[in-house]
Symmetry: D3
Subunit: 196 residues, 6 copies
């Protein structure tokens, strides 16, 4: 069971210039194969399926605690996307003089070209493809899981760096900085455990 | 952010006769379109994207709190599946005299026909198809979300009844009884809110 | 535009012994890659996209008319599945004395093990996988479309024969007999046209 | 069974300036989760599976008649897309002096950058992802189906407004105006029925 | 470029008792997430994308050579499946007296319940789900690729053992014995390289 | 079994101006429905499943030999994509003065906006969707397979022409020229065989 607090893991800067294209890129950190939903769900299912918890208590605690932290990560990724979408669009945008009509599709189609009560963050990657349970590996073998998690965190680090490079928005910068630090800690933790 | 406790939302009976076929059916309550991952993720993303929380505080609290409770539901579904799989299989099963070899595929292929450190619960439905972010609807319109959630809980109730009828195992009976009560509360809560 | 009549393309025998397993097999004729939804949607989109209809009138008429007939085919496949599911299950099935509990999953999970107001036919194949627009080929080249349609009808014929062999139920026999005749006509028509 | 007429539900303006990007956006009304293929197929399968039609005649007629009308909607969406693609591209486009080469991918890859006998409309959304039978809900419970259909029409309305805002082409304007009126009628009809 | 020889990597026993259920299980070694198509395609794409081959020659050779060997593995898996399907079914099976009709679906629906010129092996797993390019990881970072490949081979080993336990057929026994030896060599090779 | 040589089927021009957008388009020739992975895998599985090879030797040889050649095609498509990506991006790109930051997503998200040891070619189409085993048809009927292959090569030709028109890069021009010639030979070969 969990208790949920209405507080973000890291304080984001207040909404500034809207950046819907950047928000689409940040979706990769939410629903991409190496995004935070993948880390959250991988560790959560590994902890659910952990047998003999008493005999391998430090390993169980490691995985279960990182899983809980990852919930905070999808929360802050969502908050970043919503921040970047704040003020993005208004009904009547098409008719507004002095700027071109909103034309073509937004990068993630569910992001708003016009303000019709649309969502912000979604369980999708930057290509608009939904996250899938196929991304979860819970092998039932502790060593294999740890090797896998190290590989997953390495891929997550790569994606965070790519988003950091590709997006120029204060909220995204704050997000990627935070996630890089936390993911680095997890990567080291998994590697250290698995080599023992 | 969340704090996670190592305690199930409902106490399950101790592992008894293994029932891998039944465990496959219970997977529908985990990763099916109307399973607990769907309710968990729908309400979680709706709460992430909720703007103007102060102005609509009771609605935000309703959705965010049910989302948090749903984490406990996927946890107890996983525990049920793992309980039903306890003792299911052993290496050498094929050679055991006096019973037919394990042949053919298990209903969910990732469930163990032989004990090779395989996982228990997975983010899949009873057909072995992975859960997908496509199942999440976060429309950005509060009334629409509440209508949707009422429909989702209705479908979830239907699946729970079907599993209750189809599976004859103490852990599954305990699980479905518990989920039916909680889901009924949620269904009424969404309906009550949305008609206001 | 269409006008829809409440009449089946072929009269089915009245519901007899329920056969949920057979109904699952018949789903292949609905939502399989070579099922009737595939023929219906392929010819419908080819007719939608047909340019210069006046210059190639007989070809347009051929494709558009077969498309319209295919709607009647998905309708009769659905009626067959529903006939085979009639009387299949009741609430309380588990407790009924003198017979084993319904256990394990039905072949198509959406088909009812217990009668909870469940649907009959669905846009899925016999494996429970949803039909997808990926199965539609509308190349924009008339000759290529005709070659494709000949191939599609050949595959459809193969599936109908397989279902005929695998299912022993009066409604399924009537269905496959009817579809084999009509599909054979279409196959010949596409081949004749494309060789001209 | 159906009879098909070669007439559109609404008269479109004659082809004007080609707009392939806009056509990609309009694809959302064809094959998106809330597009016209979804409404067509949802109501069609609900009508196929409707038991006891005599006892609930007005409800059956409502669903079956709207289903039939929806076929006309996918037809007119297809005609709009084809109109917007008319004259879009020619072989040799790359060499045409005075304008940049066609570079990068078209938004829906199957739409033509060059005129090679390519299709127009396809069963896909604006992201190029195929429509899937997963989008169909036929619960077998009349009240649930009506709640679902109300939610579906609400989502469809949202998408139509978004396309109206995002695309500036006479055919698209005519299409969205027409669909908004008809969808609004259906939305009200489902809501009225379900509250009875 | 490749040169292909008509010779299997391991000699299979001659076709014996047909075992279509077992053949369905063996499909996991073909198109499962940890099947031979996955190893073949992962190493092939990693070798395609390998830059600076001269500077890291032994690593390139390792990956490219194992990739080539994996082609032989999908070939022998296919031969095993075809061997297990030899003699499986005949037209008229339904009418054969003294045995029950072929009823229900075969585990992989494309496998033949009746002999209608149906294929043997397909790029699918034991659940009938198609192999997907999503299973390929080519990170562009040599160390990450090697860690990944070690994890992939570990999962492949697990699946081979499971198939060995679950299927009791001479061809499958020969296949799994062979693959376990070769996969073990690859696993060690990747681990040795990556720790250097 | 195969022997693999480190030599491309056609010599590509040396890397010149990077063209990541063009590389995304070329991905259609790799992992699209009518791409080279589809031809490679279709013919490979048809050859694997070919029974009675001695009785139909010329047909077996035709399919098996083209399958082997197609491996060389995916190899040269990959080399083209990697050539077009050479020099594309560097870490620190965002900070480079005098040019706008890299913003928005690359057309295929896995292609590098920044140089982080990212892969080149992947088993995906130009829309970033993974290749799937669903694209393989191995009917088990020789004539049907030949008709199918003729249709597949026709679609492949269409895609090659579209890429030729849409991309203006020396490596892509060399690639499409080569593939058009080879695909044309295969198309004629299948047509000739199937009409015998």
């Amino acid at each position: 069971m969990i208790v949920r607090f209405e507080r973000l893991a890291v304080e984001l800067p207040p909404p500034s210039t809207p950046d819907p294209d950047g928000a689409s890129v940040v979706q990769e950190l939410m629903g991409g194969k190496f995004g935070e939903l993948s880390t959250f769900m991988n560790y959560t299912f590994q902890s659910f399926n952990f047998r003999d918890r008493q005999k391998a208590r430090p390993f169980y605690d490691l995985i279960a605690n990182i899983a809980a932290e990852e919930f905070g990560h999808i929360e802050v990724v969502a908050a970043t996307i919503n921040s970047m979408l704040t003020g993005v669009s208004t009904v009547g945008q098409r008719a507004r003089p002095g700027r071109p009509p909103a034309r073509g599709r937004p990068a993630v189609p569910q992001h708003p070209p016009v303000d019709l009560g649309r969502p912000g963050a979604l369980p999708q990657n930057s290509n608009g493809d939904p996250w899938t349970g196929e991304f979860v590996n819970a092998t039932g073998d502790l060593v294999q899981d740890l090797v896998h998690n190290y590989f997953l965190e390495s891929g997550a680090r790569r994606e965070k760096l790519r988003v950091y490079e590709a997006v120029d928005h204060p909220a995204a910068a704050r997000l990627t900085g935070y996630l890089l630090v936390r993911g680095g800690v997890h990567q080291v933790a998994y590697a250290a455990r698995w080599r023992t």
